[in-house]
Symmetry: C2
Subunit: 217 residues, 2 copies
């Protein structure tokens, strides 16, 4: 095995080091976070750090890089101003357009237009959804935790509404993300489809886990 030491970070070119570290956590969720500012201009941001925080209440988190006047984070500004945002799964059909949204566009332009994606407003929810996405989640901001270690921000929101393609839904509540083509990503720029090995039974001491059907049986 190769060994890479933090104490030898100086021996790596800065971008090489960044690529290595960005790969460490493993495969990541690939989502577009959509918001709207006070002037009605929408914003899209590719986010690979969305994670589950709890089911009751239904909470999700994601990490936003440091916000400053020099490097303003439009997504974070809009979420704080409006209190709402949406998280939208990415599929093979539009992952290149989604990746394009990470370019540094000016605040007064909408990444929806610039990247060729369609904004969709539903039932007066306070943020746009990505029409192309098969799983769209509307969230209300609960808290922004500033992480002192490196000035990043943990954005915590409560799920208000979920729109999901019918064929994802399995009998026991499991959502088959593979059936709707959700992708994952790794590092800064690699996108991947998935292939299921199995669903596994709830683990108990002294009982071997077994494979379940897609419906959890």
């Amino acid at each position: 095995m190769n060994r890479i030491l933090k104490s030898e970070q100086d021996q790596y070119e800065k971008r090489e080091w960044t690529r290595i570290i960005n790969c460490l956590s493993g495969f990541k969720s690939a989502n577009l976070v959509a918001t709207r500012d006070q002037n009605g201009v929408s914003n899209l941001s590719m986010i690979s750090s969305c994670f589950h925080l709890g089911a009751s209440p239904p909470l999700m988190g994601f990490i936003q890089r440091p916000h400053s006047n020099k490097s303003p984070r439009h997504t974070l500004m809009n979420i704080k101003d409006s209190g709402f945002y949406s998280i939208n799964h990415i599929t093979e059909d539009f992952y290149k357009r989604a990746h394009q949204s990470s370019a540094r566009y000016p605040m007064e332009t909408s990444e929806f237009d610039l990247c060729g994606l369609t904004e969709e407003y539903k039932e007066e929810f306070g943020a746009p959804f990505v029409a192309e996405s098969p799983l769209q989640i509307g969230l209300e901001l609960k808290e922004v935790l500033d992480i002192q270690q490196n000035n990043t921000h943990l954005v915590i929101g409560e799920v208000q509404v979920i729109y999901v393609e019918e064929r994802a839904y399995r009998k026991d509540g499991f959502l088959d993300l593979e059936a709707i083509g959700s992708l994952c990503c790794s590092g800064l720029d690699s996108y991947h489809k998935t292939q299921r090995l199995a669903r596994l039974s709830y683990a108990k001491p002294n009982e071997e886990v077994k494979e379940l059907s897609l419906d959890g049986e």
Copy 2:
């Protein structure tokens, strides 16, 4: 599309609701967190919430469910006591054994033994690694942030050392997780292999993203 409303949560059976919400963030990293207590007893915990927090310094986070005397989180206790832990990628060869580690075993037993995985100590690092894993990361605890919204805990650690199989390493620092067989998971119990679509170029305004080689060229 199906619409699922938070305001209608009561209409869902509790476990069904939990399964739905656990699927929302998309595909998740599949890692084993390994620790050791003051008596030298090791502990293994399946964690699907590891995420990248920053490259310089190299920080990673993961979410630990609420700790209480009734529901003690051995992993969190060990990390706080020892200050060290490891994060280890899971592959097809041992994902069932990894899933088994999530059963509620007593504190004085080691999930390594009970699940048939091999603990490995290297160069006096303060936590065990999972010998079967092709990517092992040794971290030092930096901070535990308690999340008031639902009493979960965000564990933040700094990467001290990385052991990675040679064949993962690409010329520009990208680690090819697919080459070493790292898995991802979805929901509470579904495990997946991946299949790369492409690496994409760094996104810039007025320039279409293009596919890169595995070496980033």
